[in-house]
């Protein structure tokens, strides 16, 4: 019977962690997660994470916002109650377009920014009152933590972590 053990390698320095991540992955060992107090440049590539698609969502939400603004203005100004304001009748959308640009722009930005931020929070599982699942509280301060799940023998992983510069190695049996 092989039970899984979770090993936590704790590092003091992000550069040591980064080279350790590369070293461990080159030994075909899967790294479950890395916790760090700040974003580390190049860590996502070293861990083999896919590029995030948050930018694409922002673009889509922006398009929805533009469309929403357009429909809102069209319905109110042209369709539902067209008025003649200052000798400029609101009978067509495109003739009045220049005056609508500021609000179309604001709607685009409002939708893109808010909906992208909400998507980000949902995708990361962040919401008011959520509990942190960090294995070590020091990872928001000055420690960098690497989490590896091993089934069976843990010695190779521990040795590798020690050799690549982990200052502390803990384990948790699952």
């Amino acid at each position: 019977m092989s039970s899984t053990t979770t090993i936590y390698g704790i590092f003091d320095d992000e550069e040591v962690l980064l080279s350790s991540v590369k070293e461990i992955r080159s030994n075909n060992i899967e790294i479950k997660e890395v916790y760090s107090p700040f974003p580390i440049h190049g860590l996502d590539k070293a861990l083999g994470l896919k590029e995030t698609r948050m930018g694409i969502t922002a673009f889509i939400y922006g398009c929805i916002g533009l469309l929403f603004g357009g429909i809102l203005i069209y319905y109110i100004m042209i369709l539902n109650w067209p008025q003649n304001i200052g000798g400029k009748p609101n009978t067509t959308f495109y003739h009045n377009m220049p005056a609508f640009v500021p609000i179309l722009f604001e709607c685009t930005v409002m939708f893109a920014a808010h909906l992208m931020s909400i998507t980000y929070l949902i995708r990361c599982g962040l919401y008011p009152g959520a509990e942190s699942d960090s294995p070590d509280e020091r990872t928001t301060d000055d420690k960098f933590l690497m989490e590896i799940e091993v089934s069976g023998d843990t010695k190779t992983v521990k040795d590798l972590l020690g050799k690549t510069g982990a200052t502390e190695i803990n384990k948790k049996d699952a």
């Binding site: 550069e15 997660e33 890395v34 916790y35 760090s36 107090p37 700040f38 974003p39 580390i40 440049h41 996502d44 861990l47 994470l49 995030t52 948050m54 930018g55 922002a58 809102l72 203005i73 109110i76 100004m77 109650w81 008025q83 304001i85 200052g86 400029k88 009045n96 005056a99 609508f100 500021p102 609000i103 722009f105 604001e106 709607c107 930005v109 409002m110 893109a112 920014a113 808010h114 992208m116 931020s117 980000y120 929070l121 995708r123 990361c124 962040l126 919401y127 008011p128 009152g129 959520a130 509990e131 942190s132 699942d133 960090s134 509280e137 020091r138 990872t139 928001t140 301060d141 000055d142």
Partner: protein
């Protein structure tokens, strides 16, 4: 790892380690407030309450409680509104535009600058609300279906553009601010002891949304910040452009000019940076952030003030030239009246504070002095308030019909409401300084190795 030229001055002084930054940022939250904080807080809260009383008086009595009259229909209310919105601009410029330009020096000051933006815009929003006279009908400004027949808002009106621009600006600024705050709240949460301060721990746990700093989350965090910065950048420029269109689309001499949008945006950045300096020079002393908000940061901001101040000066002169060149006598009179009429003293204050005084920043020793910068920033704050006063009141008080010419002077209610918003602003800012991580510590830690003094000296 990021690289930086060795000849650049360090942005973080005093050989700080990651843990030192954590300690320095959480100290104001963990410690007790000192005597000066309480003195300042009582003063601001007192002013705020006086302001609320004046607002209540206005709403109970009507707008007649103000100095406004038939000719000068807009006065201190919109002057204060534009002034506060302008102050709000530096925060987003620092956090968004400087992020896009990869300016590292923004990291120690962006959190407080954004707080200033949010609190400033909140003050600004109060003025149209009170000026409505019946603030409980404020929802009329939004395009919502209603039972009053087809009573819709007018999308051709710059006043409605303002509603959209300011609500978007305010809400996007809050979101941008909060996304950056989540990791820093998590840092404070993890430092709090559940035994010693269980309520605080719960509070910061709630505020930090369960952040744990996973690699994937950081990757998304960075992209979301970048995209929000990209969205907020045109937003900054649009907001004050639209505010200026409240004036520029009218047919009042002195307002009806195409130069207004860029002129207002520059003025907003100019006054916003002045207010950031006023606040940060006090704050770095009160909450011991001397190592993070250095003279280098102040100098960079002074350079921006010098640039925007000179551009604002150019805009003043362009306006004068255009009124002469237009050949329209009403337009010409509006500017002659501004400079030599009964409000020439206000015009002189505006010119001195906004055009002449910032030129002192050409002198290196003034640019690199905390005391000089503090004094000059106060002058600029005053000057920019007078700019709006001059534009609004002098254009209105002598209109096309000489029989309706009149003067404007504020009542105690006008003054009370204005002082009240200043009190309200400082109350919010003082509370913020005691409860929020006032420096974006997660971001700052990422530049310790390229811009910290210890690493600079090692090279």
């Amino acid at each position: 790892m990021q690289k930086e030229a060795e000849i650049r001055d360090p942005l973080i002084l005093g050989n700080k380690s990651y843990h030192d930054i954590t300690k320095d940022v959480s100290r104001p939250v963990e410690g007790k407030a000192n005597k000066y904080w309480w003195i300042l807080f009582s003063l601001s809260a007192g002013l705020m309450l006086w302001g609320f009383a004046c607002m209540a008086y206005t709403i109970g009595t009507g707008i007649g409680a103000w100095g406004n009259n038939n000719t000068v229909g807009w006065a201190w209310d919109i002057t204060n509104f534009v002034w506060w919105i302008g102050i709000g601009h530096a925060g987003t410029l620092i956090s968004a535009v400087l992020l896009l330009f990869r300016q590292k020096w923004r990291m120690s000051i962006n959190r407080s600058a954004e707080a200033m933006t949010i609190f400033g815009v909140a003050q600004a929003a109060l003025f149209p609300l009170i000026h409505m006279g019946r603030p409980w009908l404020a929802y009329y400004v939004f395009p919502i279906p209603n039972q009053f027949g087809s009573l819709w808002v007018n999308f051709n009106s710059p006043l409605l553009w303002d509603v959209f621009a300011i609500s978007t600006y305010f809400s996007v600024s809050v979101v941008f601010w909060y996304i950056g705050l989540i990791p820093d709240f998590a840092m404070i949460r993890d430092r709090m002891s559940a035994k010693i301060s269980p309520m605080k721990k719960k509070l910061y746990s709630f505020l930090s949304f369960g952040w744990s700093g996973k690699a994937k989350h950081w990757q998304r965090f960075e992209l979301v910040s970048l995209v929000l910065a990209g969205l907020a950048t045109p937003l900054v420029f649009s907001v004050h452009s639209i505010v200026s269109m409240d004036f520029a689309t009218s047919i009042i001499p002195g307002w009806h000019t195409t130069i207004f949008p860029p002129y207002f945006v520059l003025g907003a950045l100019f006054s916003g940076f002045a207010m950031v300096e006023t606040l940060l020079i006090i704050m770095r002393k009160v909450v011991n952030l001397e190592a993070y908000i250095t003279i280098k940061h102040i100098e960079y901001m002074n350079v921006i003030i010098l640039l925007t101040g000179s551009l604002v000066g150019t805009a003043y002169i362009t306006e004068l030239f255009m009124s002469w060149y237009s050949g329209v006598e009403f337009e010409q009179y509006a500017f002659i009246n501004r400079a030599t009429g009964p409000y020439s003293w206000a015009y002189a204050i505006m010119m001195t504070c906004n055009v002449l005084i910032p030129q002192l920043y050409w002198i290196s020793s003034i640019r690199k002095s905390f005391i000089a910068t503090f004094i000059l920033s106060i002058f600029i704050n005053i000057g920019m308030w007078f700019e709006r006063f001059v534009i609004i009141v002098t254009s209105l008080h002598r209109d096309y019909l000489p029989s309706s010419w009149t003067m404007y002077s504020p009542t105690f209610v006008d003054i009370g409401i204005f002082l009240g918003t200043i009190g309200f602003f400082f109350t919010l800012f003082l509370l913020y300084a005691r409860t929020f991580p006032v420096i974006a510590q997660a971001e700052l830690k990422s530049i310790v190795k390229s811009s910290g003094s210890e690493y600079k000296n090692k090279k």
